[in-house]
């Protein structure tokens, strides 16, 4: 493998056609993921993080249009037809979701479902698939895997189900694992176990993980780098320690400030005034400007995401790095329009 980035978003945008107009769910996201890292995409509801991951997987509804480029291992995903996409899913790119109860088919044994994922992409016999599935179940920490192989999902607890889901996701040694709120529905002690497991699996298999969530605590513990999204825009990207210690974007600062753990003592928490803008009529330029304590007139245009020398990227006119040479990613070339979501 070269040092080519594993995953690249270039000016990726997602728009939905609705009866009220065009909804701009994601706008101009430019992001690069290197092989082997754990990247956290964080933001509140409606920020577009799940939409972005769905665009990557090609699982958007037909009403969505994706523009810009999404490149996996250097190849543009937009040019792929559905059979090629299906070849990628579960094989090179895997995804796990929040609710383990609906991720697994309730009528089949859990072991069978893992084996099924293997056989969908590998030419192996049933016996071989079962053997591999058993090994995976043991690896994710299912006690007595052989006995539980045939158990239907409802016999397992939430934490156990999520482990099965992980086993199925990693069965074909994917290069990229998308985890959308994987621990949100779990109790906190179980969540800790699953996060440990994720870290162990990542270390053993070298999988790149894109972790999507709203829980900043989980992101802080697990990820190497973090990207913050607001109202469809990517506003800040940095190494985890850097982001939490010295956030640069006003939204990131406000978000961290609103956390109870970072408050200094009891009393009122600082609050972000206003509300998330209506994405069918998105404001021009920075979408946070109406709620930003430092908004200026220039915020009506741009700002693009600018990466500083230390790798810390911010989309804000306030950051001194933005005064440098013309930032890349600004609207110079017309974005290529691709058919989104498609026919699945």
């Amino acid at each position: 493998m070269t040092s080519q980035p594993l995953l690249e978003f270039r000016n990726a945008s997602v728009d939905y056609a609705t009866s009220g107009g065009t909804l701009s769910a994601v706008r101009d996201v430019t992001l690069t993921l290197a092989a082997g890292e754990t990247f956290g995409l964080v933001g509140e509801s409606g920020c577009g993080k799940t939409t972005l991951s769905m665009a990557l997987m090609g699982l958007l509804p037909p009403a969505a249009r994706v523009s810009g480029e999404i490149l996996f291992r250097g190849a543009s995903l937009g040019t792929l037809a559905e059979p090629a996409r299906r070849e990628l899913r579960g094989n090179q790119i895997s995804m796990i979701f929040q609710d383990p109860a609906t991720s697994l088919d309730p009528t089949f044994g859990v072991g069978f479902q893992v084996a099924e994922t293997i056989r969908a992409h590998r030419d192996v016999s049933r016996k071989q698939a079962k053997a591999r599935a058993l090994r995976l179940l043991a690896e994710v920490g299912i006690p007595d895997a052989a006995a539980r192989y045939a158990d239907p999902p409802h016999r397992l607890s939430g934490g156990m189900r999520q482990r099965v889901v992980l086993a199925a996701a990693l069965a074909n040694e994917p290069a990229l694992l998308l985890a959308d709120e994987p621990t949100t529905a779990l109790d906190v002690t179980i969540q800790a176990q699953i996060l440990d497991l994720l870290a162990d699996l990542q270390r053993d298999h070298g999988t790149t993980i894109l972790l999507i969530g709203h829980d900043l605590g989980v992101i802080a513990q697990v990820c190497d780098r973090v990207g913050v999204m607001y109202a469809g825009q990517l506003v800040e990207v940095a190494a985890t320690a850097e982001l939490f210690a010295a956030p640069k974007h006003p939204y990131t600062r406000a978000l961290l400030g609103a956390l109870p753990t970072r408050a200094h003592g009891p009393g009122r928490l600082p609050v972000i005034p206003g509300q998330v803008p209506d994405l069918t009529r998105p404001p021009a330029g920075c979408r946070f400007k109406d709620r930003c304590p430092a908004a200026m007139n220039v915020c009506d245009t741009g700002p693009a995401l600018v990466t500083g020398a230390d790798g810390h990227a911010v989309a804000c006119w306030l950051d001194p790095a933005a005064d440098g040479p013309a930032p890349e990613g600004s609207a110079t070339a017309a974005p290529v329009t691709l058919e989104g979501g498609g026919d699945d």
Partner: protein, 293 residues
């Protein structure tokens, strides 16, 4: 989740009263269904005005004659104008289909609400009673009733209603169960609301959706059931103009005078279509995930 949230919450609903009405009726299909039904009801009500000839006026010279300029639907086996008969038949057919379902709702809804809301023994007893009714094959039940009460339009209406009561009760009950489990009902109890107030204010308005959809489906079916009964001679009796009866009467002449069968058949099909479209529209308008386009 954020994707669905974005789609649902920030979508601007179609502006204007036209858009709002289309949404309430559930899109193009719903509007079409209601439009057709409106026309049919109008026909039924205005039949005396619209019918060019008498319903029972016999013209011996024109038995089974085909359509001509003054009689666009042709003549039936007794020389009567088919168009007039079809127009008047709508009165009976719509009356039966709508009436039977309304009657079933009047009986079935209270039963379903009581069973669903009270739960426990009440629920069990009521539902076993309903199951008993459901255990009888529908047509057999209807025939038995008619055997007791004698054939006729009104009896057919009652028989169909009896068949429908358990179906209604079940739909209502499951709908009520869903609503009863919602926190806003629990909250209402905690705020001191009486059971009656909760049923009136919370349960009924929120549970009525599936019931209305089911009602439209049942209305479509009622016409078919009535046609079956008339075929067996158990529904409306001649000379009453009624679509199912006309189908039965015209059965012998399908090859020689097909219009006697075709036009009543088409009339039934259009009515069933209208009810089904309405049902589809209702189903969509109650679906929280459906976005009007």
């Amino acid at each position: 989740m954020s994707q669905a949230t974005v789609s649902r919450d920030t979508v601007q609903r179609g502006t204007g009263r036209r858009g709002a009405l289309a949404r309430r009726l559930g899109g193009r299909e719903g509007v079409a269904g209601w439009a057709i039904l409106a026309v049919l009801v109008l026909i039924a009500v205005l039949a005396p005005v619209l019918a060019p000839h008498g319903v029972n006026t016999i013209d011996d010279s024109r038995i089974l004659a085909g359509p001509d300029l003054s009689h666009p639907f042709g003549y039936d086996d007794l020389g009567r104008d088919l168009l007039s008969r079809v127009l008047y038949a709508y009165r009976v057919s719509l009356g039966i289909s709508i009436g039977s379902v309304l009657l079933a709702m009047v009986v079935g809804i209270p039963v379903g609400v009581l069973a669903g809301y009270a739960g426990g023994w009440t629920d069990m007893l009521l539902m076993r009673g309903i199951d008993l009714l459901l255990a009888f094959p529908a047509l057999l039940l209807a025939i038995s009733l008619i055997a007791i009460l004698g054939p006729g339009t009104l009896v057919a209406l009652i028989a169909i209603a009896v068949i429908y009561v358990p179906i209604m009760a079940r739909v209502v009950r499951s709908s009520v169960l869903v609503v009863r489990g919602q926190p806003y009902v629990t909250g209402a109890r905690a705020r001191g609301a009486t059971h009656l107030a909760i049923i009136r204010g919370h349960v009924l308005p929120n549970a009525i959706g599936p019931v209305l959809v089911q009602a439209s489906v049942l209305m479509a079916f009622a016409i078919v059931i009535e046609a079956a009964l008339s075929f067996l001679g158990l529904g409306s009796q001649p000379p009453t103009p009624e679509l199912g009866l006309m189908l039965a009467e015209g059965n012998d002449y399908v090859t020689t005078a097909p219009w006697v069968e075709v036009f009543p058949g088409l009339a039934i099909a259009v009515t069933v279509l209208a009810f089904n479209l309405i049902g589809d529209g209702l189903r969509r308008s109650f679906d929280p995930n459906w976005i009007a386009r």
